[in-house]
């Protein structure tokens, strides 16, 4: 006969205010097999746990019910407590009388009655709990980092320095990410390339890092410790083994005027290109959509010689290979860090600002490219319309941020800082220029940030006007910005030669597709969900997949770097052990009785059902315990009832129903 102990928590007044916990404990104490039933103020506390452990020993309990909060909060706490008292950690059932009861029923009479039902059902279930033993899972001691921006670079270096192999996959031709596009970084005004490129070189030269650029993650299979990742290598049309990065091909390409992605459309590049001079690897890539040679081979099947041969002809190492094909390699990986970065809001939707209609309205990232000495104007700030230096530049903050109307109510965190940076740098480039910043609030919470934004105004003369701009329009040779100085309560108009829109942070363009490939969840905007926003910011909800950087939400460089190192630490923790413990509450197929219909496989959302051949040649289902989440769909779908959901057997669930509907004929064990 089982000996059940019941412990009902007050949770301060969280539960006790709307549930009479003493009465619940008393009522449940009347049930057969309940040997011990009590209430306590905070079950999850040290004394609370000790109370359970003492009761187990004193009363020889072999099953425990804790009536308290949700199991997602404290299942592990109580499971660990009973384990330390000598019981199998799965011989415990938590009855949720907080989220499911005390928090939703203000009437104490109703709350108490319902809580009693819930706890009685839990007690009934415990009689059918079996000890469970998680399996050991093997671990591949290799990590994958997706994304070669500063977060990906940092994570890769931290993991590699701990002597673990890392594969770093970046889909653009070079690592470096957004930071490579920047001129200076706030608040130190360090040259971005100068602090970034040493890390990039470190990655390239690190013996433990295998770098794949111009490559994408195609598919991910498996589970923590045992992933299989297909990497698609897009053809560069340049033989990486032969190319020295001399750059001759770039000068020889006759087609030089394609819009440069790296320069955000402010400059041009040839058909064979590297995104920027310090690219890592320093191997160019051919734009297959626009290259005349490749197009001719594609569109005229009879052709033997391509229409253009300029780069091939002049390459001193004959490294051009127009016959390259995309290839897929499969990597065995133990843990994955997702650091695929972000995209920026497209301000075309604001018709009132004229982005895309008036050439002298640009975005902040475009301004960043203008400021960069390696940029399209050689570091000179010039108006796109006539190439003249602007006398007055107006910055508009919060474009695509804090705006319900465009579906972006959140704050993008970095724009106040990068705008102050631009106001300062503008003055460094041209002491005669006057900048205006139309803002709503100045958000400068980091170290040295507030002082930085004050400097822009106090030392660099930027005129900060509090108010959102309603319209930007052209008047003769300049633009007019219509705003309100809300601190003065007066409409203001500014004649601007250049208008810069501080666009907000958005998830990466295909973030949702990548999330689905990995099997991780994302929010309504497309930012990846962390396991817990406060206490677990770098883990996803899927074991073995860590997160770092903007992919989770807006943040600045120090935060991205910190998260990268934190993710790396978690990866090293996972990969430091030869085996991992799997999840014990998974499903199980009784293969002797399985007829091989595979209905379970059709309904399993996690691809956790394998088809195996038994010794007698029959095909049967086998559950991959690493992938199984214990959702129970297979168990309910199986027509032969040969699948058991461990921890949730049919008997247990039926018992709960019987108790709920008040037939108290319990089958004795």
């Amino acid at each position: 006969m089982t000996r059940i102990g019941v412990f009902v928590c007050h949770c301060g007044s969280n539960i006790a205010r709307t549930v009479d916990v003493k009465r619940v404990a008393e009522a449940v104490g009347q049930m057969p097999n309940v040997i011990f039933s009590t209430d306590y103020m905070f079950m999850c506390s040290e004394p609370g746990q000790k109370l359970i452990q003492d009761a187990i020993r004193e009363h020889n309990l072999d099953r425990v019910v804790v009536a308290a909060c949700s199991p997602t909060m404290h299942f592990k706490t109580f499971s660990g407590a009973i384990q330390r008292a000598g019981l199998n950690p799965y011989l415990i059932e938590m009855a949720n009388i907080r989220e499911h009861c005390s928090w939703v029923h203000p009437d104490k009479a109703i709350g108490t009655e319902k809580a009693t039902d819930i706890v009685e059902m839990a007690a009934a279930k415990t009689r059918w709990l079996e000890p469970l033993f998680p399996r050991a899972i093997g671990v591949t001691r290799r990590a994958l980092v997706i994304g070669g921006g500063i977060a990906g670079i940092q994570a890769a270096l931290d993991i590699a320095n701990a002597d673990v192999e890392v594969v770093l996959v970046e889909r653009s031709p070079s690592i470096g990410g957004r930071m490579a596009q920047l001129d200076k970084t706030f608040p130190t005004l360090d040259c971005s390339g100068c602090i970034l490129t040493p890390r990039m070189t470190e990655v390239a030269q690190h013996p433990n890092i295998t770098l794949h650029t111009w490559a994408e993650v195609e598919a991910v299979r498996g589970f923590v410790g045992n992933f299989e990742v297909d990497v698609l290598h897009k053809p560069r049309y340049v033989d990486a083994a032969k190319c020295t990065g001399c750059g001759e091909c770039l000068t020889r390409c006759p087609w030089k005027n394609f819009p440069s992605e790296f320069d955000e459309g402010m400059g041009t590049r040839p058909a064979i290109y590297r995104p920027f001079p310090q690219a890592v690897p320093n191997i160019p890539v051919i734009d297959a959509d626009n290259c005349v040679a490749l197009k001719s081979l594609r569109e005229e099947p009879g052709r033997t010689k391509p229409k253009c041969g300029a780069c091939s002809k002049f390459c001193p190492r004959q490294a051009i290979d127009l016959n390259q094909q995309p290839t897929i390699t499969t990597e065995k990986i133990g843990a994955i860090v997702l650091a695929n970065g972000f995209s920026l809001f497209d301000p075309t939707v604001y018709g009132e600002y004229g982005y895309g209609r008036y050439p002298d309205v640009i975005t902040s990232i475009q301004m960043e490219r203008l400021m960069n000495a390696a940029g399209p104007t050689g570091g000179e700030i010039r108006r796109p319309s006539d190439g003249k230096h602007p006398r007055s530049v107006v910055f508009l903050a919060c474009i695509g941020s804090r705006d319900d109307r465009v579906g972006r109510p959140y704050c993008s965190k970095i724009c106040c800082m990068y705008t102050a940076k631009h106001a300062i740098m503008l003055k460094e480039h041209d002491p005669h220029v006057q900048s205006f910043v139309f803002y709503m609030d100045v958000r400068a919470g980091g170290k040295g940030y507030e002082e930085f934004t004050r400097r822009a105004q106090e030392e660099y003369g930027a005129c900060y006007v509090r108010g959102r701009v309603s319209k930007v329009y052209p008047e003769r040779d300049h633009l007019v910005v219509m705003g309100e100085d809300t601190l003065m309560g007066m409409p203001v108009q500014v004649e601007a030669d250049l208008v810069v829109l501080a666009t907000g942070v958005q998830p990466q363009t295909d973030a949702d597709r990548m999330a689905r490939k990995l099997g991780i969840s994302y929010d309504g905007y497309g930012f990846i969900n962390e396991s817990h926003p406060k206490l677990n910011p770098v883990e996803s909800n899927t074991a073995g997949i860590l997160l770092a950087g903007m992919t989770v939400g807006p943040k600045d460089i120090p935060e991205s770097v910190s998260q990268a190192s934190a993710a790396a630490a978690k990866v090293l923790g996972l990969l430091s052990q030869p085996t991992l413990l799997g999840e014990a509450m998974v499903s199980w197929v009784s293969q002797e009785r399985c007829t091989g219909c595979f209905t379970c496989e059709a309904v399993c959302p996690f691809n956790a059902i394998d088809k195996v051949a038994l010794r007698d040649g029959r095909q049967a289902a086998q559950i991959n315990e690493g992938l199984c989440k214990g959702c129970g769909l297979c168990a309910s779908a199986c027509p032969g009832k040969v699948i058991t959901s461990r921890g949730f057997s049919d008997q247990a669930l039926l018992e709960q129903m019987i108790v709920l509907f008040r037939e108290r004929e319990l089958v004795s064990r």
Binding site: E352, G467, V469
Partner: protein
Amino acid sequence: MVTFKADQPIAGNALLSRIRDRSGVRVHDCYQCGKCSAGCPVAQFMDLMPRQIMRAIQLGQTDLVLRSSTIWLCASCHTCSVRCPMEIDVARVMDCLRHIARAERIPPAEKNIVLSHELFLESVKRLGRLYEVGLVAGLNLGTLKPFANVSDVGLPLFVRGKLNLLPTRAGGVDLKRIFAEKKRDR
């Protein structure tokens, strides 16, 4: 100076609630960005900016709002409403405030504007359609500017046959009923 008493509800103040009940607009959502005032074509002529009206409503400052020139100078162009990032229909709030001001018989800050509306509606009430000559005559008399708009606009229009000296009638019984009901509503 505005004083908030200890037992005074701000978030649910009477004016805010009345506007929400009459028009459905949540003035409470306004975060004072100023985009409405920035785009308002007549803001430069107003005593309070449209944004300040929103703030005054949030703080329950009924008198300030209903006695402003702002609510009467508003041309209902809706530029504010279509650009507001919190999707507040500012123009609708202005309409609502005008209705409240009329119902409460608050003397308007822009007497001439209200007079022109009243004369317009008087014409519609009696004749079913607008009789411009009557409107301009009434307005000029009411504002003691008998010759405003006469020689430079009125006369040229008349000479070109665009001003009907005699009114046409329409609407009959229906309009009588509408205006009678309106009188109850004020």
